[in-house]
């Protein structure tokens, strides 16, 4: 919804490849259990955002995810009954019984929070650098109406948000400002008007007789190839890397050379496609 075409390798890659690259990062975050690798992955996503010219956007998303990440750490620390290293005894919690905070529960919560941060970062990267129209157009060959509905929704949501703000302003200009319910009614009525206008536009653009779009051939660019290869590399590395880690009953894991090598491979796989800057502008 906030896609802006910029001169970056990720923007230059086709939308399907860009989406697969971001999906590979999400997959890696979900399967990797080692917090060191997750931390490296989070930093790599941030650097990838900068490489795509959307560093501030990705960083802002990561900052917005921080409260939720903190909540995960706190909730897991409070509810988890596992772990051997008790670091605080909070006493009787009534129906919840004895509440003990363990180091393992906090560490596991921190690891889950890192997973969340990486996923949000990858989604922010996709939202900023993957063309939703192109992506949905490719899906229109599979499901014409659903893909178009999704496209229009991505266009309409910010438009309706603007409308709502405008109507809110108009209501503030009334000498007797209306209640929230009345404003909501006005916004809903406006949204229905907008929907009718959009439906009329779709009709006069021939949507009523729409056919499945023809397959378009487009030569694979160096960026398409680079991001495809790296998406596969990220997924394979995440699924096969030798960095086991367990949190319960006590923390056991590797921070040895093999883990550092895996981290380096992962970071290179995420960032390598951004090294190629030829032909990024349109």
């Amino acid at each position: 919804m906030s896609y802006l075409r910029r001169a970056s390798p990720l923007h230059a890659a086709r939308a399907g490849v860009g989406a697969a690259y971001c999906a590979a990062i999400v997959l890696a975050a979900l399967v990797i259990g080692n917090p060191l690798l997750l931390g490296v992955l989070a930093l790599a996503v941030l650097a990838a955002g900068a490489g795509a010219g959307a560093g501030a956007r990705v960083a802002r998303s990561l900052c917005l995810s921080a409260p939720m990440a903190l909540l995960i750490v706190i909730v897991n620390g409070l509810v988890s009954r596992e772990g051997l290293t008790v670091i605080a005894r909070l006493g009787d919690g009534g129906p919840f019984g004895q509440i003990d905070i363990t180091l393992e529960a906090l560490a596991y919560g921190a690891k889950e929070a890192l997973v969340l941060v990486v996923i949000i970062g990858a989604c922010a990267l996709a939202s900023a650098a993957v063309d939703p129209d192109e992506l949905l157009r490719s899906l229109r060959r599979v499901s014409l109406r659903s893909a178009l509905t999704a496209t229009i929704a991505t266009r309409m949501v910010p438009l309706l948000a603007l409308d709502a703000r405008r109507i809110g302003d108009a209501q503030r200009c009334r000498p007797d400002p209306a209640g929230r319910l009345a404003v909501m009614r006005a916004i809903t009525a406006n949204a229905l008007d907008r929907s009718l206008d959009i439906a009329a536009t779709l009709e006069v653009r021939g949507y009523g007789c729409a056919r499945r779009p023809a397959r378009a051939y487009r030569a694979w660019s160096r960026h398409d190839l680079a991001f495809s290869v790296c998406a596969v590399a990220i997924a394979v590395t995440a699924l096969t890397l030798p960095a086991p880690f367990s949190f319960y009953p006590s923390i056991h894991g590797s921070f040895g050379a093999s883990t550092w090598i895996s981290a380096a491979v992962l970071a290179v796989a995420v960032l390598a496609p951004f090294a190629q800057r030829r032909g990024v502008a349109r």
């Binding site: 405008r166 108009a170 200009c173 779009p213 023809a214 051939y217």
Partner: protein, 536 residues
Amino acid sequence: MNALALEGVTYSYPGAETPALRGLTVEISQGEFVVLAGGSAAGKSTLLGVACGLVPHFHGGRFDGRAEICGMSLREHGPAALAGEVGTLFQDPETQVVMGTVRAELAFPLENRGHAAVAVARGVEEVALALGIEALLEHSTAELSGGELQRVALGAALAGRPRLLVLDEPTSQLDPVAGDELLGLLRRLNEEWGTTIVLAEHRLERCLGAADRVIALHRGEIVCDAAPSGFLDWAHGAAPALETPGATLIAGLGLHPAPAGVKQARTTLRAAGLLPEREAPAAAPERPPRRLRRRQGAAASLRLRHVWHEIRGGPAILAGVSLSVAAGERVVLLGRNGAGKSTLLRHVAGLAEPTRGRVERDGRVALLLQNPGDYFIHDRVADELDAASLRAAGLESLAARHPRDCSGGERQRLALAIVTGGEPAPAVLCLDEPTRGMDREAKAALAEQIIGFSQRGVAVLVATHDPEFAAGFATRAVLLADGRVLADSSPADLLAGGWYFATETARILGGYRGILTAPQALAQLRPAAAPIGSTR
């Protein structure tokens, strides 16, 4: 083959008591440029709806008669089937763009028709080049200005090279620059591609010069169907509200023919010896009158002191604007889209806080934003206002109606009554683009209302793109650009001296004596009967 052929078409919207079109019979040939004229609710938009198939297939209702569009019967073909032959452009550019990027938007109608990928790519490229929007192809539609968005919507309407293009007030939300560009494009499409154009427009002075024919509608019936000069001759006697200022001027001077544009009016005046063969060079701009400059420091209802509005990580929308408006003064704010007019009004009304500087108000500020419908929250007009205010606004007859079912002018009056009602009475009244989609009569009524407010001591500030409307009420004109005040002077100075922000009469007379309207011109030219410019 005709582009459009209607025979005895009568149409009523669902639930409507009276038909919107009554026994309409008309033929429009391929390659014609036709302008539809008429007041609000005359049937212009409904006729365009028939031409693109939305009436009756999308809107429903009762349809009688026969309609053929580019050889296709309307009974058998809906808007989607007609879309290959008919391109359509409405008023609001925001709701005519459905995709996220310009390229996707232009490709959409071609893809719907099942064109091969190569044909889609070629069609997009060609229409983008034809409309000069090739540089925008990769842009997100969310980042386009109103003028660019309208151009993209026109591109989508033209992507399949339709034979007929129907447009419903496409310039009503554009500034004069973007509006003139769009009309220039239409003229080129008509001349070079042979596209038939049917255009509904209230500001006839902007488009008659390009038209081959004008069809005037009144209450769903055709009341005039003639070439532009024939239409203006008819309007002079039968419908003065449809007469252009240039035509009023020429007819008032007893000259002929009625001019379809500025050039023709000047030729007629020259032939009559009222304009010199060669114009005198334009005089150097004068300093603002001392009276106006002094007023900045006089007792004012509104004072803006070095007001800045800076977006974090973005531009400065207002850059140190200082402005004072005295009680009873009527100020018009002019400037292209994005100049900062609406933001300025939001600051005046307290909807936005300056990032630097301050706004001082001598009482309540009433602000009427661009869309009057945003103010309505009830299902009946009577519930929006108390009985006394309703009577004062002259809206008693509409009491039982739903506000959204009122005409543009009625909605504007209702919204104005809402914001100016209540206690205490406003000291400042701000109106943001109040004439969008209004006919000339409604504009004149609004101008009278504005003058009425100022006579009661209310300071009035109006942002508009419509110089003819501004000339009807303003006592002072302010030109904004890039958030800065470029000029602050009398309307005669500002509206008579420019190209875009000038009335038609001023353009015809070349800014002579700061004359802005046809009545002013007639009052000054009739007794003189001396060539303009000789007294400069």
